[in-house]
Symmetry: C2
DNA sequence: GTCATAAGTGACGATATAGTCAGAAATGAA
DNA sequence: TTCATTTCTGACTATATCGTCACTTATGAC
């Protein structure tokens, strides 16, 4: 009896109703992504999102408490997924230059087919500068930064302070996003990889140089810190 | 008589009325700068600007046709002044590394005491990614880019295509703004210059490497392109 | 001082957007 | 099928913001 009931539950683990809710939610998030990338988060109105999602306005409030709530979820989703990709593809790189190159490549691959998410990411970064912004945006950004910090920390042998590590991670992120935003503007439709090959290696070289100089170390440690 | 009249005009070249208009206009622009840096351009309402400027709402429309108009003027002012600083302080640098370092320093010096303008600049860059943004924002950005292009063009001896030059300028701007945004986030109140010394040189090194590789040149030209 | 002109003002009507809620539609259990 | 429960809906109200305009104030010519 008990076993039978469990089997029943497993058979159709996700009932239609639950699925419907999920579908609506996804529609809303996806629609918001699109509209945000066209008009910006602030200028977007709720109606535009629900209309694009082909749902009634009330549905929006069934899923989110307001625009800020949706933005928080969206930002968290994007940054968590990006952090996931970073963990997946960069863990194996123990050499700093290769690691940095891998980090850059993950960003490029992640955003190259997801323009909306890139715009969201960039706008989120811009909003971090404001004193009155959407609350809660910073949390997923910090988590994302910490992911990069962990990767870099494990690639360098020397013990390093939290503050310096944060500084390095910010440099990486700042450069990568600046670099990527350039790539977007400069190369319209052309093959991004080719145009950016030398820039990527230049970026890695600059970052390695920076990290080496940022590391607190004595003379005799110099040769075993970074290759 | 004619001479006298001219003298009269010169004596009080700017009549009080004109000055009053200028003062109001400046008040509005300054207030907008402040509010924009707190809430972002989109989220800011006209009343907030006029209230901050301590002026009536109608005055705003005496000076600007709407928020977009004001934003255009603001963006143009900031970028023109930045371009002016670039021209003033970087003209004499004929060596590429020194030139790039000078360009970076101009940005740092320009923004370090003008937080509002930095936020504006960053938001403007973010808005360039949107399909429906404030119209006319791109023009001053292009002019600013062209200023950097001219500087770099005169520092490298080889003839270079407009497209490659634009790409290089975008790289410089992207890196510098990414770099600066990192600096802002990472160093709170600390002396920015010290913390960023090595990063600056790393950035210059990376950019020089990138530019060298981006230059179309034959083997025999290699040694006279960039020192 | 007087007056014509320019600039500033803020209450007001028009418009737009947010958030709600009573009813419609879908779902799933019996 | 029936019906209780969940989700969706979009018309509606309340609120917020815009842009205007009749009026006030400041300016400068005479």
């Amino acid at each position: 009896m008990m076993v039978l009931e469990r089997k029943e539950r497993k058979k159709r683990r996700i009932p239609r109703q639950k699925r419907r809710v999920q579908v609506s939610r996804e529609k809303l998030l996806q629609a918001a992504r699109l509209v945000f990338s066209e008009k910006g988060m602030d200028a977007t109105r709720i109606d535009e999102i629900t209309e694009r999602a082909d749902l009634g306005k009330g549905t929006f409030y069934n899923h989110f408490t307001g625009k800020g709530d949706l933005i928080r979820h969206l930002m968290k989703d994007v940054l968590d997924e990006l952090a996931g990709d970073l963990n997946e593809h960069c863990r194996e790189q123990s050499e700093l230059p290769q690691l940095l190159d891998a980090i850059i490549m993950v960003h490029i691959n992640f955003f190259s087919k997801r323009w909306e998410d890139y715009v969201l990411y960039f706008q989120g970064r811009a909003d971090l500068h404001l004193t009155h912004s959407y609350s809660g945006i910073d949390t997923p950004f910090i988590k994302y930064l910490e992911t990069i910090e962990e990767l870099i920390d494990s690639a360098i042998q020397s013990k390093i302070s939290k503050a310096v590590l944060r500084r390095i991670a910010c440099a990486v992120v700042g450069f990568v996003s600046g670099y990527y935003s350039f790539a977007i503007i400069a190369t319209e439709g052309e093959d991004v990889d080719k145009a950016l090959g030398s820039l990527r290696s230049a970026l890695v070289a600059g970052l390695v140089k920076f990290i080496n100089e940022a590391l607190p170390r004595t003379a005799e440690e110099n040769d075993r810190v970074v290759r």
